[in-house]
C-alpha cells in the first residue's frame, strides 16, 4: 500500500524551496505571536487557549493542510508529470495512500509541532492546553490532508477551493454559525481536545463519539474516492 519511490518524489515536490517557505511562514508567525503575547501579558491559560484555538487550529492547521494536501498531487496532475507515475505497474490506491501519508506527515510537522511549541511558550502547558491543542492539530491534520488530497485529485482549482473552505467555512462559519460547526473538521478535532484539557478552556459543539465517527468516515471516504478518481484520471491531450 506504500511505495517509497512515490513518497520520495512527493516529499521532494512538497518541500521544494518555494513551497517550504510558504509552509514555514505560518508556524513562524504563530511562534512570534506566542512570544509577543507571553511577553506582554504573562502566562495565562485563557489567553493561551484563545491564541491556539483562534489562530493555530482555526487558521494555521487548515491552511497548512490545503498546501500539503493539494500540493501532494495537484501540481503533478496539472502539468501532466503524473503520467510518469500512472504509466507504471503500481496500483492507483497505492499512489493515493502513499501521497496521503506524506501529506499527513508534512501537515503534522508544520502544524502540530509549532502548536505544541507555541502552547509551551504561552503558558507552559498549564491545564494541558498545549497538549490538548496539539492532539487536536494532529487529528485535524489527518482529516484535512485526506480532504484536500481528494480536492487536488478532482479539481484544477484545488488550492482556491481549499482556501475558501479553510478560511470561510472553518474560520468564519465554523466559529460563528452554530449549524456549520457540526460539519467542521475543526470542531471534530476540538471534541478530542476537550477530553484532554482541564476545565472548560477547550469546548466543542460536537460530542466525542460523533466527532470520532465523522473524522474516520471523512478520511476513509475521501481517500477511497481519490483512489477511484485516479484510476479513471483522464490526461487531457494537447488538442
Amino acid at each position: 500500500m506504500y511505495d517509497p519511490t512515490v513518497a520520495r518524489l512527493t516529499y521532494r515536490a512538497l518541500l521544494g524551496r518555494r513551497r517550504a517557505l510558504i509552509l514555514g511562514a505560518l508556524p513562524l508567525l504563530l511562534l512570534v505571536i506566542a512570544v509577543a503575547v507571553r511577553a506582554l501579558t504573562g502566562a495565562d491559560d485563557q489567553t493561551a487557549a484563545d491564541v491556539l484555538g483562534g489562530f493555530a487550529l482555526a487558521t494555521m492547521v487548515p491552511i497548512i493542510g490545503v498546501i500539503a494536501g493539494t500540493g501532494a498531487i495537484g501540481p503533478e496532475i496539472d502539468d501532466g508529470s503524473v503520467v510518469y507515475l500512472l504509466s507504471k505497474p503500481v496500483k492507483r490506491p497505492t499512489i493515493i495512500f502513499t501521497k496521503l501519508t506524506v501529506a499527513i506527515a508534512v501537515t503534522m510537522v508544520f502544524s502540530a509541532l509549532p502548536t505544541l511549541l507555541a502552547g509551551l511558550i504561552l503558558n507552559g502547558n498549564g491545564q494541558q492546553v498545549a497538549v490538548a491543542y496539539t492532539v487536536a492539530a494532529l487529528v485535524a491534520s489527518i482529516a484535512y490532508a485526506a480532504l484536500f488530497l481528494l480536492l487536488g485529485t478532482v479539481s484544477r482549482h484545488a488550492v482556491v477551493f481549499g482556501l475558501v473552505y479553510a478560511l470561510v467555512w472553518e474560520a468564519l462559519f465554523g466559529t460563528l454559525v452554530p449549524g456549520a460547526r457540526t460539519l467542521s473538521v475543526q470542531q471534530w478535532s476540538l471534541a478530542v481536545a476537550q477530553d484532554i484539557a482541564g476545565g472548560d478552556l477547550v469546548t466543542s459543539d460536537v460530542g466525542l463519539t460523533t466527532a470520532t465517527v465523522l473524522l474516520v468516515l471523512v478520511t476513509v471516504l475521501a481517500t477511497w474516492y481519490a483512489g477511484q478518481k485516479l484510476r479513471t484520471l483522464t490526461l487531457a491531450g494537447e488538442e
Partner: protein
C-alpha cells in the same frame, strides 16, 4: 511479438468527435502516425497508452485491455508530448525513480541512460536541460524496463537536426530489435525517413494506411495548384495547356497571374522552365498555392 489492436475506437468530448471509428493494428517495427495538428493523434495515443477511455470500441495489447489495467505497463514504454517531468530532480534521479516504480534498480536506470547517451549530463537538474536532452531522458525513462511496445507523442517537436537524427537512429534500432514502436508526427518527411509503415489520421478519421511509398504517391499524384507570373502569361498558358501534365489554367486578371492546375507533379515541374525558355518567356513568380499540409491531407481523405 507485440501487437496493439485498435478496434472500432471512437472518442468524443461533449459534441466534438476527436476520434471517429478507427480500426488499426500496430505490429513490430516502426509505425508513424501521421496527421495535421488537431487531427486526433494525441487523443488516439492517449487511448493506446491507457490514459483515456474510448467512448466506444476497444484498445488491446496482445489481447489484454489497456484501459484500467496497470499491469499492462510492464510491456509499454511511454514518451509523452508534454514537457513537465519533475524538474527538481537530476536526470539520473528521474530515471532511477522510473526504474524503481517498475521494481527495478539503479542498474537498469544506468543502462537506459547509456542507451540514450545522457550519462554525461545525468547529474544535472532536469530544469537545466535543453529540449533535446529532456526528450532523451524521457526516452530513458520509457526504456528502463525494456518494453516491447514504445509509444511516442510528437517526439521530434522542437529538436534540432542533430538531436532529431540521433533519436531517429535510436528508434530505428528499437524497431530492428523487434519492438513495436509507434510515434506521431505532423511532418511527412519525418515519418517518411523513419517509419516502415504509416497510418494517416485526418479530422479524427483513419485516412490511409500502408507503406510510405503508397502514401507518398497518393500525396504527390493529387492535382497541384500553382500561381505563375511571367513576361507573357497568355503565351505561357497556351504552351502549358498543350501538355497532358496540365489539366487547367485560369487567367486571373485581378492578380495579374495564371492559376495553373497540374496533374502530374514531376512532369509539370520539369516542363514549366523548359516551355518558358523555348518561348522566350521570363518566369517572374512560381508559387504553389495549396501546399499547406491541410490541403494535402484533405486530398488524402477524399482519395
Amino acid at each position: 511479438m507485440t501487437t496493439l489492436s485498435i478496434d472500432h475506437v471512437s472518442r468524443w468530448f461533449g459534441n466534438v468527435v476527436a476520434v471517429n471509428d478507427i480500426t488499426m493494428t500496430i505490429g513490430p517495427g516502426v509505425t508513424g502516425l501521421l496527421g495535421p495538428n488537431g487531427a486526433g493523434k494525441s487523443t488516439l495515443i492517449n487511448m493506446m497508452g491507457g490514459f483515456l477511455a474510448p467512448s466506444t470500441g476497444t484498445v488491446t495489447l496482445d489481447g489484454q485491455p489497456v484501459w484500467r489495467n496497470e499491469d499492462i505497463y510492464r510491456h509499454i514504454g511511454i514518451v509523452p508530448e508534454r514537457e513537465a517531468m519533475y524538474d527538481f530532480l537530476t536526470g539520473k534521479e528521474f530515471v532511477v525513480a522510473n526504474a524503481e516504480l517498475h521494481g527495478l534498480g539503479a542498474k537498469a536506470a544506468q543502462r537506459a541512460l547509456a542507451t540514450v547517451e545522457m550519462e554525461y549530463a545525468q547529474d544535472r537538474k532536469i530544469a537545466t536541460y535543453s529540449k533535446g536532452m529532456r526528450q532523451r531522458v524521457k526516452m530513458a525513462s520509457a526504456l528502463v524496463h525494456d518494453p516491447s511496445l514504445l509509444l511516442l507523442d510528437e517526439p521530434f517537436n522542437g529538436m534540432d537536426p542533430r538531436q532529431r537524427m540521433q533519436l531517429m537512429d535510436l528508434l530505428r534500432r528499437m524497431g530492428d530489435e523487434g519492438r513495436t514502436v509507434l510515434f506521431s508526427s505532423h511532418i511527412l518527411e519525418e515519418v517518411e525517413q523513419l517509419a516502415w509503415h504509416i497510418e494517416v489520421i485526418v479530422a479524427g478519421r483513419h485516412a490511409a494506411s500502408g507503406d510510405f511509398r503508397r502514401i507518398r504517391r497518393l500525396m504527390t499524384d493529387r492535382p497541384h495548384r500553382y500561381l505563375v507570373r511571367s513576361s507573357d502569361d497568355r503565351a505561357l498558358a497556351a504552351a502549358l495547356i498543350a501538355d497532358p501534365s496540365t489539366s487547367g489554367i485560369e487567367v486571373d486578371h485581378a492578380e495579374g497571374a495564371l492559376r495553373v492546375q497540374a496533374v502530374d507533379f514531376a512532369r509539370f515541374t520539369a516542363l514549366l522552365p523548359k516551355v518558358a525558355r523555348d518561348h522566350g518567356i521570363r518566369l517572374l513568380t512560381v508559387s504553389p498555392s495549396d501546399e499547406s499540409l491541410e490541403s494535402v491531407f484533405s486530398y488524402l481523405v477524399a482519395a
